[in-house]
């Protein structure tokens, strides 16, 4: 029973796994946060859990990657590198694991090779295990990541993305494993990435068995989601058939779409004679006890719809996208259409488009297409740019079969064959001039950026600049607990907030009154470490201008839309304004497409009328209630 720890040479880790008499566990804290809390679990909470998690004896802590890198800087205001450094101080032994989207890294679209390599090199300084996938299982798309991870002497964990259907045979997947090993060599861990929690326990058991038959020395890491409530079953069968590592998460925070509760996995397998290697069950319980009270502060980020979703086997949405899809449906006022979208249109679109894997960014293409098909009326009538790229083969070849010709025609137009001929094929992205990007960033933030700052900038240019400015102004805010950071409705007068800053200094802030003075400005009085401080806020200007408009409620936004004043229903970016001033539109016509996180949502007109005034443009970042355009209602 050997504990695997941070700093252990790759070959030693792999040999330990090969000789393991039992199985190891990865605590998928990042995936839990992404699937069940819209990625909002704060570093503060992870730090509360750190000591007990370290003691628990996990194979690894999956704590970065996926959408978290983006959300860290966008909504949590923490530097993803700082997060890893701070956690490492508290957790010297546990390996850190990431989820990397191959050519898309931690974003939603492909990056140039030199950006991929630079990014992986920087993160590899802190990340021990690299779980890498491609949504088309196109191995070439992962090659640069594999190479950089190997060069950094870290552990490659390539994925085969798993799904169900007649095409998804054991033979197909074993063939994919062969393709991977041809590129990486045998010194890897293989991940079965079951991002939707699809298939039955029996199906997963058979798959693991089949791979093990062909590759007995290949350690298998099973990753699943508990969307249907049955991932413990799949994990059990995976371990029985030879998987060496499985994913689960702290039970006091488990929800409906993420990893299953870790203690249930251990208890189930123990009865069956399988030991969780080096796992300290008391420390696992201790972890959940340490963070349980924090969960209530994340309430606003938990799913709008409670309960497991066994119908995931039909719609196949990945656990990581469930929360954001439902949020979008709720904010876009089409929750009532969800049964249609999820249970009819989505499976239909999947089959039509080739029955590949519903995972980022493919899951977004499927979802956006299905939503647009249902809400827009005409199927494939409003194809997104990503769908177009998919059909052009920019992301890789279709693994099983191509969509039918009428879809190509709908999406690419009448002379689709010619377009396919001219533009089709894997997208080759030119390298970026990194020196130039560094200079551009320096111009924007006013200082010479560090390599890590440049990495963040290359991932998400605008959001990284905003974040770096935020950091300069507000400091290291990860020290704040969710009860402060996510507080809604303001604080109570006299409430005293205690926290330790990142240097370890204790602070105390007492909330004072917030009078509005004669100029309309508000003075917020805070007693900071026994010294009174006043923070002055300019009055908010409604209807544009410098100040931020007050956030409108969902009902108010709908009321305005009914009157022809189209507002943004959620926080996101305008991808496209689909109409022109003076254009006549009907109820249900798409007026704009907005993107929040990775989901594109069409914004539809609620009335018949003429577009009179457009105030938003593509690229604008809007808050709920911000103006998009005005429609003069037909009377």
């Amino acid at each position: 029973m050997t504990r695997i720890f941070h700093g252990m040479p790759v070959s030693e880790v792999l040999n330990t796994l090969r000789q393991a008499n039992g199985y190891y566990i990865t605590n998928t804290a990042r995936d839990l946060s992404q699937s069940d809390f819209k990625n909002r679990i704060l570093l503060h909470t992870d730090l509360l859990a750190a000591r007990a998690r370290e003691k628990a004896g996990y194979f690894s802590l999956e704590i970065t990657g996926g959408a978290s890198v983006h959300v860290d800087i966008l909504r949590k205001q923490v530097n993803p590198f700082t997060k890893l450094k701070v956690l490492r101080e508290k957790m010297p032994q546990t390996m850190f694991q990431t989820l990397c989207r191959g050519v898309n890294l931690f974003g939603y679209r492909p990056y140039p090779q030199n950006v991929i390599r630079f990014t992986v090199r920087e993160f590899a300084k802190y990340v021990d295990v690299w779980r890498t996938f491609d949504f088309m299982n196109h191995i070439e798309n992962m090659r640069p990541v594999f190479e950089e991870v190997a060069a950094a002497e870290k552990i490659n964990e390539p994925c085969i993305c798993f799904s169900t259907g007649p095409e998804h045979t054991n033979a197909f997947y074993v063939g994919k494993v062969k393709e991977i090993i041809a590129v990486t060599g045998g010194e890897i861990i293989l991940c079965i990435k079951n991002h939707g929690g699809l298939g039955t326990p029996k199906r997963i058991g058979e798959l693991v068995h089949a791979i093990k038959q062909s590759y007995p020395d290949l350690p298998i890491h099973y990753h699943g989601h508990n969307t249907d409530g049955n991932d413990v079953g799949r994990i059990t069968e995976a371990v029985i058939n030879g998987a060496t590592i499985v994913d689960a998460a702290d039970f006091s925070f488990t929800g409906y779409y993420g990893p299953p509760p870790v203690l249930s996995v251990i208890q189930t397998l123990k009865e069956l004679g399988h030991t969780a290697i080096c796992i300290d069950e008391e420390a696992i319980i201790e972890t959940s006890d340490a963070i349980r009270d924090e969960r209530k502060h994340y309430d606003q980020f938990e799913s709008q719809i409670k309960g497991f979703q066994p119908t995931v086997q039909i719609h196949k949405l990945p656990g990581g996208a469930m929360g954001s899809s439902l949020e979008q449906a709720s904010k876009g006022n089409f929750l009532d259409k969800m049964p249609d979208i999820l249970h009819k249109e989505l499976p239909r679109v999947q089959k039509e488009l080739g029955n590949w894997w519903s995972v980022t960014p493919g899951s977004q293409i499927l979802w956006t297409t299905a939503v647009s098909n249902v809400l827009g009326g005409e199927r494939y009538g409003n194809p997104s740019g990503d769908l177009r790229n998919l059909l052009l083969g920019k992301y890789g070849p279709f693994p099983f079969y191509k969509p039918e010709e009428w879809i190509f025609e709908k999406v690419l137009g009448e002379n689709w064959q010619q377009i396919l001929e001219e533009e089709g094929g894997i997208e080759v992205i030119e390298d970026m001039d990194l020196a130039h990007e560094r200079y551009a960033l320096a111009e924007k933030i006013g200082i010479e950026p560090t390599d890590q700052q440049l990495v963040l900038y290359l991932q998400h240019p605008n959001d990284a600049v905003e974040f770096l400015k935020f950091e300069e102004q507000y400091g290291q805010v990860y020290v704040l607990p969710p009860s402060i950071f996510f507080r809604q409705g303001g604080f109570e007068i006299g409430e005293v907030l205690h926290f330790q800053d990142h240097n370890g200094k204790e602070h105390m802030i007492e909330i004072g009154p917030s009078p509005v003075i004669d100029t309309g400005e508000t003075n917020v009085y805070l007693n900071v470490d026994h010294h009174q401080s006043i923070f002055n806020f300019q009055p908010e200007v409604l209807g544009g201008g410098q100040g931020k408009a007050a956030i409108l409620s969902k009902e108010e936004i709908l009321d305005l839309a009914m009157a022809g004043d189209m507002r943004s229903p959620f926080a996101g970016n305008i991808v496209e304004i689909s109409v022109k001033e003076g254009q006549e539109i009907l109820i249900g016509d798409r007026i704009a497409i907005m993107e929040a996180m990775k989901m594109q949502t069409p914004i539809l007109s609620k009335i018949d009328g003429i577009v009179t005034w457009i105030s938003a443009k593509a690229g604008d970042s809007l808050q709920p209630g911000d103006k998009i355009l005005k429609v003069d209602k037909n009377e």
Binding site: R75, Q473, Q476, R487, G490, F491, F499, I509, V524, F537
Partner: protein
């Protein structure tokens, strides 16, 4: 008898003057320009008179100030430093209007303000001076005189505008060719800046220490000195840090300089408070530089080590009182350091942070700490006046204690909003050359690492700002 005194200044010095006036049981009348209408000196004064919309022109308007003094029934005017403080015409206008000008006579100000007359007075009195010329004659003759002087004393030389001062109107000349080119330019510049195109030459003392002596003199012929100050730490001739007494480990030299200062003041028939400035080279030669005829920004360090209130004495002397103590009564005790906390970005060539608002202001305190400030929480750094927020002066029994105290105070000081010179000073108080007392006017140039620091602002202040946002917006606008 209660008297009314007009304070013809703004900023921290206005407050300093008002305090002294009120401690003497007199009344202070403040004046202000419209951009200063929220300023602290107006609240503290017994009365305030609006001079006009300014900016800067009304504080410099002799007529308006004299009228304001007359109308409010003042019998005296204290000019502070800057603005009209060393303008002989202002002193003259006070004299002719029957107002007491708190400072030396207009003639003294005129004589000492003219570098060439001043040099002549000092030369006649046998005060050691940097070799230099008289006003250079116009045209060819002037250039020839200059070249002859250069041949005798060697380059580098300093070409100075006779009416310049405070670091303005001086330029370094290093060759004959440059000399020929620079003289006409310097003249044109001096004419534009000081309305006087006279220039003269001086030998350059390489990397000197800047040491000055505070003197007080009454009209009965008593002149005393209050010891030395070292103002060597400057950037482009603007002082940043001042200490008292000088750290030169040569008591005889310092005593001699102090005696020379008294002699110089007497030679100029000096009355009231003044400062005699010297340059000291590396061989301990000292040279008279000039006499400043005003209260200096850095007068606080002298007050700390002597316990003598210079401004109070200025007022008493101006009212014709004799000095209430003799030289023997002046005791120097310990060390003092003053730093000027300015809303400036040292990294960006000390660019003022005009227009920014002080969102958090938390000052320091404790034993041996003195603050002369103007800033308050909510203060907006004026774009039209200077950027001095507060002067921090510390006093200690030993030099080491004083430096540690300054360090502690700077650590405790929190100013959020504008960038300030605080982090820069923090680097200085930790620099080994500063700690060992060895610095001259080349100090900043030779210590570029002083400009390397992380932008200051306490973590608590920054986090408090986010908490205020969350509270005000009723949600975290950066998290949703």
């Amino acid at each position: 008898m209660k008297k009314k005194i007009l304070v013809a200044n703004r900023g921290e010095i206005a407050i300093r003057l008002i305090r002294a006036i009120q401690e003497l049981d007199h009344e202070a009348v403040a004046v202000y320009e419209t951009p200063d209408q929220r300023s602290r000196h107006i609240r503290i004064a017994n009365e305030a008179v609006l001079l006009g919309d300014g900016p800067r022109c009304d504080y410099l308007n002799i007529d308006k100030i004299i009228k304001a003094a007359k109308r409010s029934g003042c019998c005296a005017i204290h000019p502070g430093y800057g603005f009209l403080a060393e303008n002989p015409f202002f002193a003259k206008a006070c004299e002719t209007s029957g107002l007491i000008f708190i400072g030396p006579s207009s003639k003294t100000i005129y004589d000492l303000g003219n570098k060439v007359i001043a040099r002549k007075i000092m030369a006649d009195a046998g005060i050691p001076m940097v070799p230099g010329t008289e006003n250079l004659p116009q045209g060819r003759e002037g250039i020839e005189k200059a070249l002859a002087f250069a041949a005798q004393y060697k380059y580098p030389l300093m070409l100075k505008a006779t009416s310049g001062g405070g670091g303005r109107g001086i330029r370094l000349v290093e060759s004959d060719a440059q000399m020929k080119a620079e003289i006409p330019v310097a003249r044109a510049e001096a004419l534009a800046a000081f309305n006087d195109d006279s220039v003269y030459l001086e030998k350059v003392v390489i990397n000197p220490k800047h040491v000055e002596v505070q003197i007080l003199a009454d009209q009965f012929g008593h002149t005393v000195h209050l010891g030395t100050r070292d103002c060597s730490i400057q950037r482009r001739n603007q002082k940043l840090i001042e200490i008292a007494p000088s750290m030169i480990q040569n008591k005889e030299l310092l005593d001699e300089i102090c005696k020379t200062a008294v002699k110089a003041a007497k030679a100029a028939n000096y009355v009231n408070a003044g400062t005699v400035e010297f340059l000291i080279d590396h061989n301990f030669n000292y040279y008279f530089m000039e006499i400043n005829t005003r209260v200096q920004v850095e007068h606080t360090v002298t007050e700390m080590i002597t316990g003598i209130d210079i401004v109070r004495n200025q007022i008493q002397l101006a009212f014709g009182n004799p000095l209430p103590f003799s030289q023997e009564d002046v005791q120097i005790r310990g060390h003092a350091i003053e730093v000027r906390i300015n809303a400036e970005d040292p990294k960006n060539n000390f660019m003022p942070e005009g227009g920014k608002k002080v969102s958090v202001y938390r000052s320091t305190g404790g034993f041996g700490v003195r603050l002369d400030g103007f800033v308050y929480q909510g203060y907006i750094i004026p774009e039209v006046y200077d950027s001095l927020l507060v002067k921090l002066t510390v006093h200690g029994f030993t030099w080491t204690e004083t430096v540690s105290r300054l360090h502690r105070c700077l650590e405790n000081f929190v100013i959020a909003g504008p960038k300030t010179t605080i982090p820069f000073y923090k680097n200085i108080v930790q620099d080994k050359d500063f700690i060992s007392g060895s610095f001259d006017t080349s100090y900043l140039e030779k210590h570029p690492h002083l400009f390397l620091y992380d932008e200051d602002a306490s973590e608590a202040g920054k986090l408090a700002k986010l908490i205020a946002e969350i509270h005000y917006r009723k949600r975290n606008p950066f998290a949703i």
